[in-house]
Structures are given as C-alpha cells and as structure tokens.
C-alpha cells in the first residue's frame, strides 16, 4: 500500500464511532459514571503512556505480548496502557497510599492491546470501571459485585448474569497436591478447556487418584446457586480452600440481601486469571453475545509492587463490547433551528432556549425559507424559525408554519420540553 492510499485508512483493529453509535457510547459512559458517583467513587484521570516496567507489572505472558511498546528519546521503553488497573495501582501505591481508607476510585479511558481482531476484540477500546482499595472484607467484594450487576443492568438487556468464582478455593485445592509447575499448568489447561478426556489423562499422568482425582473431575460442574458451595465443601479438606468457601458464601449472602442473587451464578471451576487475582473473580455476560462484557476480581498483591501492600478489588466494563447489545436510541435532533441572523432578540431567544436545556442549532449557511425548512427536517429538528425581521418571525413545527412575534416566543419557549 503506498502512503497516499494509507493516509485514508485506519490501522487494523481500530474503529471510528459517529452518529447513533457515538451517542450510545457517550450515553453508556455517562450512565456508568453517574452510577459510580452515587456509590461515592471519585474520578481518576491517568496517562495513556507509561514505562514498560510499570505497565508490564504482573502481566500474564499473553498480555505482555500484546503491549504496544516504543522508545522515548533517551531510549527508555514505553508502552501504551493495556488496562487501567495497573496505572491505578501505581497511583495508589506511590501517591494515595496514606489517604483515608477505603479509597473508592473510578476511571474511563482507552486501553490498547495488540490482539488478533476477533470476537469483539479491538486493538483500542474503552474500559470504564472502579477500584475499591484498602478493604479486604466480604462487604467490599459484595459492594463491587453489586455495582457490576448494576452496570450490566444499565445496558438495558433482558437477560444478564455474573459468574462468580473464587481462585483461592482452587489454589488451596491444587496447592495441597504438591504438583510441579508443569503439572499444575497442564491441569489448569485441562480445567480451562473443560475437557473431560484431557482432564482424566492429565490426572493419570500426574498419578493423581482416588478422592483427589474425583474432586478435580467435579470442578467443572461447580456452577449454579448457593448449593454449589456446599458441594464444593465436600471435595476438599484443605483449610485454605475451606476458608475461601466461607468467604464466598458470605459475599453471596450479602448479594442476596441486596436482591442480586438472581443474577449471580457461582462458578467455582473457573481457572482463568489465577496468577493475577487473589480471591473472588467474576465475569459479566449478556444474552446474545458470545463473550463477556465485564470482568473483575480481587488483587491484593498488585499495589505492593508500587508501595505498601494494600488489598483491592475492582472491575472494568468494555464499552465497545457492551454497545454490541446495549439498547440505544438514535441521537435526538435539535429542538430548534434558526437562522444565524444579526437581530439581538433572535440571538437572545437562542441563548434563552439553550439555558433552558434545549438543543438549539444556528444555520450557519445563510439559508431561509424553504431551504432552511428542508435543512431543519433533514436534521430531525422539532421546530425551526424560517425567517425573521428582528420583531416577528415565521416559526415552523409539526402543526405547520405561523407568524409570531419574538416577544411571544420568549414566553412560549419555556413550554417547549425536551
């Protein structure tokens, strides 16, 4: 491709939003932000670029491969942030660590990953989410999960659910077996694929038999409501695993108190992100979409890379993925279109209407009469002033066109609701 041709292109995996989609994007972002603020969360705005060393902290090998890396003028390796949690952890660990706890922070920002564009994955996408820092309690987990359910509800889809896992349960079970790193990886892969044959073969290869083998084979079926926790209790005597179950049971009770239980599926066989998270994990799903729109969990060992160790829990929602299912209305047209004339009364009317919260567009192209009426209709305007002499004007709306004095309109405009 020559450079003239390339000038007109977007790099692979990037997208433009405009019209209805851009309006839906802004509306969803606003809705989520308003929700976060009602729960007492405060905005953080962070740099898009960071040092590679910062942004690679605790990154999985997969995520590390996906970083956009480049060099500054002194040859230091920089990267575009691949998520928002690590930049927030850096801010907290280096700057906010001695502020009154818990810290409740939210963000909305672009993140960048060099992905194969497939299944709803873009190379630049928006994460809107929260981090709750300084509380390791079940109540903290329940607050964040409850907010995640509300974020899913905000999409306006009829069916959604949040799958709640607990990596400490799995770690407790698996650590008790004294497996080699390779053995553990093979087992995690088989559990992740939920492959019965591969799981059996791996257990045989690792010489895991009896109750322990039965327990691992039962992991994929640990999916459902509260009774899952009771089934899980019988699978292991490991104290860490039992304590992890106590914790998740308490979180679930709190969520049930708030009426969220119907949207929660306990999913204790989920092994993804086990290296990163240190307690509960969750993914949000909506009907009609083959991948999750939201994910989160507890990560108590991340902030310690930047400062004092502090417990933290949070989630992020992908706006672009969510827009694939969110119900959106076409962007509303203007409430009033008027000529950009030089009459003071006319300009005051526009200012008054805007101060009342109406959408007002000036025609900047010098059109009047039929030409302005056609332009207003094309914009979906509710009404238009087609011409004006500084005292009286022609106002057109759904009922037709009429002549009216601007003084009367100054009063009438208060009755035009949005």
């Amino acid at each position: 491709m020559d450079s003239i041709e390339r000038r007109r292109q977007r790099p692979l995996g990037l997208t433009d939003l405009f019209g209805e989609q851009a309006a839906a994007y802004a509306a969803l972002e606003r809705l989520l932000i308003e929700q976060f603020e009602r729960w007492g969360y405060q905005r953080v705005v962070l740099p898009t670029i960071g040092y590679d060393e910062t942004l690679s902290t605790q990154a999985s090998p997969r995520l590390s491969e996906q970083l956009y890396r480049f060099f500054d003028r002194d040859g230091r390796a920089l990267a575009l942030r691949p998520d928002m949690t690590v930049p927030v952890a850096r801010l907290v660990g280096t700057t906010l660590y001695d502020q009154p706890l818990p810290l409740r922070l939210y963000y909305s920002g672009k993140v960048f990953r060099y992905e194969q564009p497939q299944a709803g994955q873009r190379r630049e996408f928006t994460q809107v989410g929260i981090e709750l820092i300084g509380a390791a309690t079940a109540a903290a987990d329940a607050e964040v999960i409850g907010m995640a359910v509300e974020a899913l509800r905000a999409l306006g889809v009829s069916t959604f659910q949040l799958n709640l896992g607990q990596v400490d349960f799995l770690k407790g079970m698996l650590n008790g077996m004294n497996l080699s790193a390779e053995g553990l990886a093979a087992l995690e892969q088989a559990i992740n694929r939920r492959s019965r044959v591969e799981l059996q073969r791996t257990l045989a290869a690792l010489a895991i038999t009896g109750d322990t083998a039965e327990a691992i084979l039962a992991l994929p079926s640990l999916c459902g409501d509260a009774e899952v926790i009771e089934r899980a209790r019988h699978l292991t005597g490991n104290p860490a695993a039992q304590a992890a179950l106590d914790h998740v049971a308490q979180v679930y009770r709190l969520l049930a108190l708030d009426g969220y239980a119907e949207h929660i599926i306990l999913d204790l066989g989920e092994v993804r992100s086990m290296d990163y998270y240190t307690g509960i994990t969750f993914h949000g799903y909506v009907s009609g979409l083959g991948f999750h729109v939201l994910s989160g969990g507890r990560y108590d060992r991340l902030i310690g890379h930047f400062g004092p160790q502090m417990p933290a829990v949070g989630f992020a929602m992908s706006i672009e993925r969510s827009l694939l299912v969110a119900h959106s209305a076409p962007p509303a047209g203007p409430d009033l279109v008027l000529p950009a004339c030089e009459h003071a009364q006319c300009r005051q009317l526009a200012a008054l209407a805007r101060s009342l919260g109406l959408r007002v567009e000036s025609d900047l192209l010098g059109r009047t009469g039929a030409a302005l009426a056609a332009a207003a209709e094309a914009r979906g305007a509710a009404r238009a002033i087609l011409s004006c002499d500084g005292e009286r004007c022609i106002l057109a709306d759904a009922t037709g066109a009429r002549e009216v004095s601007l003084a009367v309109l100054q009063e009438e405009v208060r009755t035009w609701s949005r």
Partner: protein
Amino acid sequence: MEPLTFALPKGRLQDEVLALLGEAGYALDADVGRRLVFEDRSGALRFIMAKPADVPTYVEYGAAALGVVGLDVLREGRWDVIEPLALGVGVCRLSLAGPASWRGRNLRLQPGLRVASKYPRLTHEFFQAQGISAEIIYLNGSVELAPAVGLADLLVDLVQSGRTLVENGLIELQTILPSEAVLIVNRAAHKMQFERIEAIVDRLAAAVTRREEAQA
C-alpha cells in the same frame, strides 16, 4: 425455548457426526440433503453446515453455541472455546512424512530444511520445540506433491490410513498430534445456558461410551 445453534463440519466428518447425534437422541429428518440450516425433530438444536475450518469461528463469536471440529483444526488456531468432549469419530493423526530416504535422519543436522504444510503453526511449534530450524511452506492442499516436485524436503499432513502417502512414495516419520472430532462450546453460552449445554454434552458422552463398549 429458542433452539441452540450447533455448527457442523461439511465433508469428511459430516455423516459420522450426524449418526452420532442421532444415537444421542437428536434425530434428523432423512432428507436433510444439501440444506445449510435445519433443526432436529425435537427443535432443541438448530444445525448449520459450515466449512470445517470455519466452525471454531462461529463458536468463538457465539454465532453458534456448539460445534464439532477436528482437533487438528482447533489446535492450529488460537481459539478460546471450551472443548468438553472428544467424539471418537474422524480419528486420524497429524504426521511428519517424507521420502523413504529420510528415515532415521537427524533433522537437527539438516540446515535449510523445507517443510510443506497446511498447518503452519503446529508445524512451526513442533520443530521449534525440538530446536530445529525449518522453513515452513504453506500449502492449501495436496501437500504430498511438494517433495516430488522439489518444493519441500518433507511435509506435515493429516494421515488416516496412510494410503495416500504410500501411493506417493512417502513414509510417515513421526506423529505430531493425534486427532479426532471434538465438541466445542462457546464460553459465554456455556455460562448462560449451563444446564441445557451440560445435558447435551452428557447425552453425547453417553453415545460415545456406548460405541466404545460395543467395540470392546
């Protein structure tokens, strides 16, 4: 309830998979013919016929909740799906093959080794794992031709009976991946429709077990 969409591979595996589904209780009308979309008689499943290599795409995106695909195709891509069940049909293997003169040669000591394959990623990983540098030549099919015309030294291809290799004067040198048809499921669908999908997996698993017992 809406039927779940099930992507089936057209071609080699098609009849065997349909027979297995029938044994699992998902009966089809006899005259499915060349239709690309059809339901089973109970209305629980809607089948779509796709090119085998496209089945994981339908399933990962969630356009199909379930699908059947050869393990060779599944491992060649980086598909993020779950794979609860091996179906015991379409059993074959991905193998390294070449002219008989290559038997017993140490591939590590063959600089400039050229290997033709329809499976560039699995081939690359196979050689890399053994510290062998090989040039992978991607072909869409009839890979057996490559050594005969001097395009490549060796080839990596799917072997079922081995007859095609013999007819082209080639021998199998090493198995890279044992393969068979596997059931794959979209991750989100598996979460959202856990009980329905687990029931389908259980019925198919029972049918596979019955076949194994009948053969034993």
